[in-house]
Symmetry: C2
Subunit: 232 residues, 2 copies
């Protein structure tokens, strides 16, 4: 398709958006260099409206020689990155691991998003950002219960596999890591209960691609003490 | 990867699930032959639970010589089909059309699903299936208003492009066609208001891959009169 290596890459993203984190991890894994513009997609004059009809992050602008290529949201960015690789990077070569990577990506982007983020991140993150008042105890409880179910699912997979998909790291690990790392920032992950998950997350966190995420700071709220520790 | 042509393909699907329809369209476009098992995913003993941890359709079982390959849900099925092609089929070769195909697939599978299906198909389809009582007028109105916005978005694209993504048919057309055709069955699409959309849908409907969908019947409810007409 295109090596992408010589092109200038500009990423528009919101650091606490799971798709934005997945895109940064994937760019890092592909060992590309890019410049960044931080965006606040809920503000009416957000620059994203110029590029993406949905107004959502992330958007990657790829400028080579001609008209820039605009890649809207994580599936388009990850897909483009994978197309540009000589060897499989985000999707394993093994057909059954490849299918698992696609299944789990969908799991996180729909089920996890609907059952955990739409409840728990709404209370912990969107409410302060949009000044919607204090979190509701019942919603927090529901979101935390749902999160437990998802972490148990991951723990079961990681007791049998090195990575979520199988023997090779895949986009499913990056997408899951994007989600989990945001919840971890807010202190929502009880690592002691999930030893397999913790080992996986330590390995993921130690990768150079993860480092920029550990430097992210949310307005007016410091992360939990262990957030940026590689050995926690 | 694998040609897939010699393998036996068995699709487990629910005919009024958008992902199931997208998988059938994609299999048809790839000119493959497959056998089908109809499933009712909301029933506790549904066979899908054996294959897909989410319990959701569609699932494609690919049996070649060794252990069957289990492909859970539309992204894994469409991705596997595309991997098996010699020339681009579901994702156009042009980089910007390819990005559009991925962007629009995400649009339908998240925004359209949340704003239209979760409201309108819940009232028209899930309520009778699960015996949840009659539809609510306010929800129907909200779902129909949301649908109008999405149809207007499609009309605007189709006034400038042959297919949703550009010059070539892509998975975005199949995924959108899967969603729209279910709503059309229930008489929810006012074609007169959207001439560009209507032309696109007539072309899509005329493809051999679409024919099986036009024979689907929902329990106790006949489709609108024009549902299976190619010239409506």
């Amino acid at each position: 398709m295109q090596s992408g290596v010589m092109a200038a890459l500009e990423l528009f993203h919101f650091p606490f958006d799971p798709g934005s984190r997945a895109a940064r991890l994937a760019l890092g894994e592909a060992r590309l260099e890019w410049t960044e513009t931080l965006v606040r997609p809920w503000e009416p004059d957000c620059v994203l409206g110029q590029f993406n009809p949905s107004g959502m992050p992330p958007v990657l602008r790829v400028t080579d020689t001609g008209k820039p290529l605009i890649l809207c949201e994580a599936p388009a960015i990850l897909g483009w990155l994978e197309d540009a690789q000589k060897a499989p990077l985000l999707l394993p070569a093994d057909l059954s691991e490849r299918a698992e990577a696609r299944r789990l990506t969908g799991w996180f982007d729909r089920r996890f998003m609907d059952e955990v983020n739409a409840v728990l991140l709404h209370e912990r993150m969107e409410k302060p950002l949009l000044r919607l008042g204090p979190p509701e105890a019942r919603a927090l409880r529901e979101g935390r219960d749902a999160l437990k179910g998802h972490l148990a699912m991951m723990e079961a997979l990681l007791n049998e596999r090195d990575w979520l998909t199988g023997r090779r790291m895949s986009q499913a690990d990056l997408v899951a890591g994007a989600h989990i790392s945001i919840l971890d920032y807010f202190g929502e992950v009880s690592w002691k209960a999930w030893p397999g998950l913790k080992t996986w997350y330590m390995r993921l966190k130690s990768r150079p691609s993860f480092r920029p995420l550990l430097a992210d700071r949310f307005q007016g709220l410091a992360p939990v003490a262990h957030y940026a520790d590689l050995d926690f």
